[in-house]
């Protein structure tokens, strides 16, 4: 047996001695009361307190229960009429109602949640034990005729009027304290969760009736017989309810622990998606329980792969408790449950379901990835449509308009020629020539947007340098590998850098930017940094998201770090971007005209 268990056994023996001894004193003093009920009520507090100390270490309810039991029997021991002990017994014994109120409002962890509850409980202690303390400090029993063996003698100040006042408070304090207590119960019920109400309603009903009985006891004239005797017995019965309900709560937690065993068995059987939640809900006895699964980027997803958020309500009827399930210091999932569910049971269920949770998490991640792939595919199709519309619009508004006017100019020139105005013809042809040059420039720019020739012919370094040269801010390009990569990788890098530089020009308010490209056996890494205003959000705006989709399509990953006021870094990692062993190139002559068949080209210059 552990030292703690020995201590508990000692407390149990002491409690039994205190309870039975008190009843023995009452019986021998000729006190007319139901000693069985009285002993049963007091002992029930001791039993509940000892069980609570054993099962819920650190929970304040255990010590409060023991204090209630000890206080309960003080009145019995007072009948010994020991001069020294009379006053402390009277004071401590008068605090029973305050201890019970403290237990009822602090159930199930002993903590008082609101200021009003703390004021109510404090007022109860002051109105009972405090008033009695004032009484014994000011009342002189010898005034009332006590000659020897008086229960106490005033040690500070003997004042009959003060003693009368304290006695009045002790006798009539219930008029104020009971309504305060009932209001506190009602307020607590209002802000409790459904599960808490399920557990607490029996206790609060008993405590509410008990408070009513206290009130009636204060109104009805004191008498050892008749109605007050009946009330006293009824009060004892009700007071048993308080520790009984607490014990029932502990027992139900023990029963729930056995549900963990059933959960382990149930988890062996195959089950459809989402069934794990139902099994855990049954084991916890909380139908409202929910499970969300951790993903690598720090977020959470539902079992079906859809995004999830952890609740933020920590109080009130909608309050939810989050218990994170971890394995080897890695987050697997989070159980979102009613705060009233026993934390030990939650931990036991989480441990039992660990493997199943891990499997379910992997399934959820796959579903989330599938959803993302579907969404990405849809966005890529949409981006393709948008791009075609843009090209059509650019053609229509640009080169096509210029060619139309060129056609009109040619028509005018022909007429001028026929009419014999050679000077006018020359002017018209000059204007037409300018228009034609602009049309060619616009077509070249459009073609470069579709696919840059320099990238195909010269590779990443020159292509990125050409982007840097045309950027709106000074851009430095460094560490670009000289060898070639697969065309899809090169074009992905090119368009990421192109979009990033375009965004810098439009939004960043930067004075310079830089492009870094590094490559090792594992990945090709591209970073575009600027010193602008930051605050870019990749979730907003189709440009960055379209790039992210493009990067994801080649198994890459794009991140945007953009703290407000500290510039933006767009980083793309393209894993396994092996250098191209052979790249098909169109061979061109000195004017850029394709000639002959495309030869195979090998990095390093060996054809």
């Amino acid at each position: 047996m552990t030292r703690r268990r020995w201590a508990l056994a000692g407390i149990a023996v002491a409690s039994l001695v205190w309870a039975l001894g008190g009843e023995w004193v009452s019986i021998h003093a000729g006190i007319a009361e139901n000693h069985f009920l009285d002993a049963l009520a007091g002992l029930s507090f001791f039993v509940a307190g000892i069980v609570a100390l054993d099962r819920r270490q650190g929970n304040r309810i255990g010590p409060l229960m023991l204090a209630s039991g000890a206080s309960w029997f003080c009145g019995n021991w007072e009948n010994l009429r020991w001069p020294v002990w009379g006053a402390p017994l009277l004071v401590f014994g008068s605090a029973t109602a305050a201890f019970v109120a403290h237990v009822a409002l602090g159930y199930s962890n002993g903590r008082l949640a609101t200021r009003y509850e703390r004021v109510t409980v404090a007022a109860t202690y002051v109105g009972t034990a405090g008033a009695m303390l004032g009484f014994v400090l000011t009342d002189d029993p010898r005034v009332a005729g006590c000659v020897r063996d008086c229960p106490w003698a005033p040690v500070i100040w003997s004042s009959q009027s003060a003693a009368d006042a304290f006695e009045w408070v002790d006798e009539h304090g219930a008029y104020v304290l009971v309504p305060m207590f009932v209001i506190a119960l009602w307020l607590r019920w209002r802000r409790s969760t459904p599960a808490q109400r399920r557990y607490l309603t029996p206790l609060w009903v008993a405590a509410g009736i008990l408070a009513g009985v206290y009130l009636i006891s204060a109104i009805v004239p004191a008498s050892p017989h008749g109605f007050l005797r009946l009330l006293s017995d009824f009060q004892a019965l009700l007071e048993i309810c308080v520790p009984a309900v607490f014990l029932a709560g502990l027992l139900s937690a023990r029963l729930a622990q056995s549900a963990v065993g059933s959960l382990v068995v149930d988890l062996q059987a195959p089950r459809p998606t989402g069934e794990l939640r139902a099994l855990i809900a049954a084991a916890l006895g909380d139908p409202s329980v929910d499970i969300v699964y951790a993903v690598d980027d720090g977020g959470w997803i539902q079992a079906d792969g859809s995004p999830a958020l952890l609740p933020t309500d920590e109080s009130g009827p909608s309050a939810r408790q989050v218990t994170v399930i971890e394995r080897e210091q890695r987050r697997l999932a989070a159980l979102i449950h009613d705060p009233a569910v026993d934390p030990g049971l939650v931990r036991a269920v989480a441990a039992a379901a660990g493997m199943a949770v891990e499997n379910e998490r992997l399934h959820a991640q796959v579903r989330a990835q599938l959803d993302e792939v579907r969404a990405s595919r849809s966005r890529i199709v949409q981006a393709g449509d948008d791009e075609r519309r843009r090209v059509e619009r650019d053609l229509h508004d640009g080169a096509q308009q210029r060619l139309v006017t060129l056609s009109l100019a040619m028509h005018a020139a022909r007429r001028q020629l026929t009419a014999g105005h050679p000077d006018a013809v020359a002017d018209t042809l000059a204007l037409a020539s300018d228009e034609l040059r602009l049309a060619i420039d616009e077509l070249r720019e459009l073609a470069r947007g579709l696919h840059p020739v320099i990238l195909t012919d010269e590779g990443l370094g020159p292509a990125l340098q050409s982007l840097a040269d045309r950027a709106a801010v000074p851009v430095s390009v460094d560490r670009v590998p000289e060898h070639r990569f697969p065309p899809t990788i090169e074009s992905t890098v090119y368009f990421v850098v192109s979009e990033a530089l375009a965004n810098i020009g439009k939004y960043a308010d930067a004075s310079d930017a830089s492009i870094h490209v590094t490559h090792d056996a594992a990945a090709l890494i591209v970073e575009v940094r600027d010193n602008g205003c930051g605050g870019a959000d990749p979730a907003r705006g189709s440009g960055l998201r379209g790039l992210s989709d493009r990067v994801a399509a080649v198994n890459g990953r794009m991140t945007v770090v953009s703290p407000v006021g500290a510039g933006t870094t767009v980083r793309v990692v393209l894993p396994g971007s092996a250098r191209a062993d052979r790249v098909d190139l169109v061979q061109r002559d000195s004017t850029g005209t394709p000639v002959g068949a495309a030869p195979h080209w090998t990095p390093g210059g060996t054809p």
Binding site: H396, V404, T405, L408, A409, A412
Partner: protein
């Protein structure tokens, strides 16, 4: 000579259309660069013919045609072909459509007065 208003947001087209039509039987009384100013110009200048681009910056040429067709003859034009606009051209109250690349004074006259052509 028929009075004519050119409505197009492209300055180059307006300049050359004016140059061509001015020498081929039309009196170009004004130019407008968008739908609203075209409507105002029709009210102010009372042109007999309006050469109206379909794609204007503020509103569609079809919408402008609906609002001015009772006061003048409208010829729709575009750098696209009529087929690109489907039945909208037929439903329009305009007297016809002329691709910008086909624009000449004779073609305009033929469209406005098919019997003479």
């Amino acid at each position: 000579m028929r009075s004519l208003l050119i409505v197009d947001d492209h300055a180059g087209f307006r300049m050359w259309a004016r140059e061509v039509l001015r020498h081929e039987g039309f009196d170009v009384v004004g130019e407008a660069t968008d739908g609203l100013s075209a409507i105002d110009a029709v009210h102010d200048l009372h042109p007999e013919v309006v050469l109206l681009d379909i794609q204007l910056p503020d509103m569609s040429g079809f919408e402008v045609a609906e609002r001015i067709a009772a006061q003048t003859s409208v010829v729709l034009t575009s750098s696209r072909s009529a087929a690109d606009y489907g039945p909208a051209v037929v439903r329009s109250p305009a007297v016809g459509f002329m691709a910008k690349s086909d624009l000449t004074g004779a073609a305009m006259a033929a469209l406005l007065d098919p019997a003479q052509s």
